[in-house]
């Protein structure tokens, strides 16, 4: 787009490198500090650990309950995403493929949830969950995360559905397949790339959420990582080795997950997830 001379290229590259350092430095300090003793973190904050030790990880994992938080986060994320994908893709199929009275109104109704922050409705949601006797259960989180993911996922998948040619399913319908069968056997496999994008978005949203567990969950055995970490920072405030190890346990799965799927995800983001 621009014709750049060498000096301009050097300036541009320096800008990129500077921001890369602003990212790598804090994250690097975090990762490395997890392998040090508190004393070493305080006295030699920037050196590599004199001895790479996993003790802080072991302690965070067992004593500080991280194994429980981790397990809960995995369960909540997997269940919520499965439901979100299933429910939203069915809705998207109907919205994209059929013309019926009220279609546009329903579409706009669901679209409204795309930007209205769910947490503004937290009080009635909290009361609903409480009246159903679901507070302090992982079930409360399955419900709000699935419901909260419907707008975005349905929106993205509806757009994707529209790119699939119509004649495929006409043939199947003539052969007598039910709508559900057409959706399940024909569309879902074609939808795979879009489902991957939706999965990554939802994974990040659910895995990282702090607000809903804060409102719904008191019981230590039911906490997810973001809420667990808050406990942990209160309890071990001066044991920085443990704190950094805990942060690492919390972030490493999501960073790995993101790097593996980054191509898919960045593709999704740059191809019209945000307009």
């Amino acid at each position: 787009m621009f014709r750049l001379n060498t000096v301009q290229k050097i300036i541009i590259f320096s800008i990129l490198i500077l921001w890369a350092i602003a990212n790598i430095f804090p994250l690097g300090v975090m990762v490395i500090s997890g392998f040090k003793s508190t004393r070493e973190i305080f006295l030699a904050p920037f050196s590599l650990p004199s001895k790479w030790s996993f003790d802080s990880y072991k302690e965070a994992w067992t004593v500080a309950n991280f194994s429980v938080y981790f397990k809960n986060s995995i369960i909540v994320t997997l269940v919520s995403i499965t439901f979100t994908l299933f429910i939203s893709s069915m809705a998207a199929y109907v919205l994209a493929r059929f013309e019926f009275p009220g279609r546009r109104a329903i579409y706009l109704f669901i679209l409204a949830g795309l930007v209205l922050p769910v947490r503004l409705a937290i009080l009635p949601i909290f009361l609903l969950i409480r009246n159903m006797g679901l507070n302090n259960t992982l079930f409360s989180l399955f419900i709000v995360y699935t419901a909260g993911g419907i707008s975005f996922s349905t929106f993205l998948l509806t757009n994707f559905f529209k790119t699939i040619p119509m004649d495929i399913e006409d043939a199947a319908r003539i052969d007598g397949a039910s709508y559900f069968r057409v959706y399940w056997k024909i569309h879902l496999p074609l939808l795979r790339p879009a489902l991957a994008t939706v999965t990554v978005f939802n994974f990040i949203r659910v895995w990282n959420d702090f607000f809903f567990p804060l409102i719904f969950i008191n019981d230590n055995a039911k906490k997810t990582i973001p809420l667990g970490i808050q406990n942990f920072f209160g309890e071990y405030a001066i044991k920085w080795d443990l704190l950094f190890a805990g942060l690492n346990i919390a972030v490493i799965p999501i960073i790995i997950f993101f790097i593996i799927l980054s191509k898919q995800f960045i593709g999704g983001l740059t191809e019209g997830a945000i307009k």
């Binding site: 069915m90 493929r97 409204a112 949830g113 937290i122 609903l128 909260g148 942060l247």
Partner: protein
């Protein structure tokens, strides 16, 4: 047409029921129910007492008003500073990536990583890094002789909110860079070619031809930022607690609401009705902007 008939004729509609049901019960209905609650006095159990507009009076002109306007002001401040800190560097970085130099894919992935981390974790991490005594940031400043600016970043009433906004900007940057980059890649090439043939200079190209085409994405980002800025909670909670310390200098509507509705530490005014009032007021700020957003998305979709 009755619902029954509609279903007989369009039996595929059964597939949209789960989404519609869950969304209506747990998202749409609560928004309205919240408005309803704001006319009552209710500590969360026992009977609700109808109080008309009393909650609104208390929040807007009564005993809650000082805290409310202070928090509201902080939300606005958050929006403006965060906007500047995201859009300007975000554009610069996006254009730098658009140059297509070696390593661009690596930079894209790296820049997005902070965005994948939980806000609460980013807050805790930076609270450690910014610790006045042992934090790595002040240690660096001191080691290069800048002792005078090695401040108690989160403990100073003037510095705490800007610091939190900078950290929020740090986390969010990757999102803005990639979104802007997508817009830059989508720029109409033929127009640029025409400009070049007409002998436009590089700065004319940038300011006359390229930046005007960035207006739609900047509009979108601005709208989203307004909505997000009135919903901040986690980052303040992680770095300054529910009181929005020091001395309320980082208190925002989110933390104020949390204290009122769920009784954060040290607060005695637990009230669902009053909390619902604060949320409804936030809703009135956010709703028109959301409608505008959906209107824009729809319009662009119809265009293709």
């Amino acid at each position: 047409m009755s619902a029954k008939k509609l279903f007989q004729k369009h039996n595929y509609l059964i597939l949209i029921i789960p989404a519609l049901l869950l969304y209506t019960v747990f998202i749409a209905y609560p928004f309205f129910s919240s408005l309803f609650l704001s006319f009552f006095k209710w500590p969360g159990i026992g009977p609700k007492i109808f109080v008309g507009l009393d909650n609104y009076k208390n929040v807007l002109t009564g005993y809650m008003s000082r805290e409310f306007y202070r928090a509201l002001g902080h939300n606005f401040y958050f929006f403006f500073l965060n906007w500047v800190l995201s859009v300007v560097p975000g554009m610069i970085l996006a254009f730098s990536l658009a140059a297509g130099l070696r390593g661009s894919d690596f930079f894209k992935t790296l820049f997005f990583i902070p965005n994948t981390l939980s806000i609460i974790i980013v807050g805790f991490l930076w609270a450690l890094l910014l610790n006045p005594q042992w934090g790595m940031i002040n240690q660096i400043l001191k080691s290069i002789g800048l002792d005078s600016i090695a401040k108690a970043w989160l403990g100073d009433t003037k510095l705490a909110l800007p610091t939190i906004i900078v950290i929020t900007g740090w986390r969010g940057m990757g999102f803005y860079v990639l979104t802007f980059l997508a817009a830059i890649v989508g720029i109409d090439r033929s127009m640029l070619e025409a400009g070049r043939i007409d002998g436009a200079t590089e700065s004319q190209m940038l300011f006359r031809l390229i930046l005007p085409q960035m207006v739609p994405i900047i509009t979108t980002i601005t709208i989203l930022k307004i909505i997000w800025s009135f919903n901040i909670f986690d980052i303040v909670y992680a770095m300054e607690g529910t009181q929005g310390g020091p001395a309320g200098s980082t208190d925002v509507l989110g933390t104020l609401f949390y204290r009122i509705a769920f009784g954060g530490l040290g607060s005695s005014q637990v009230g669902m009705g009053l909390g619902a009032t604060v949320v409804t007021l936030i809703f009135f700020i956010v709703f028109p902007v959301s409608v505008l957003y959906i209107y824009i998305v729809e319009k662009r979709e119809l265009k293709g």
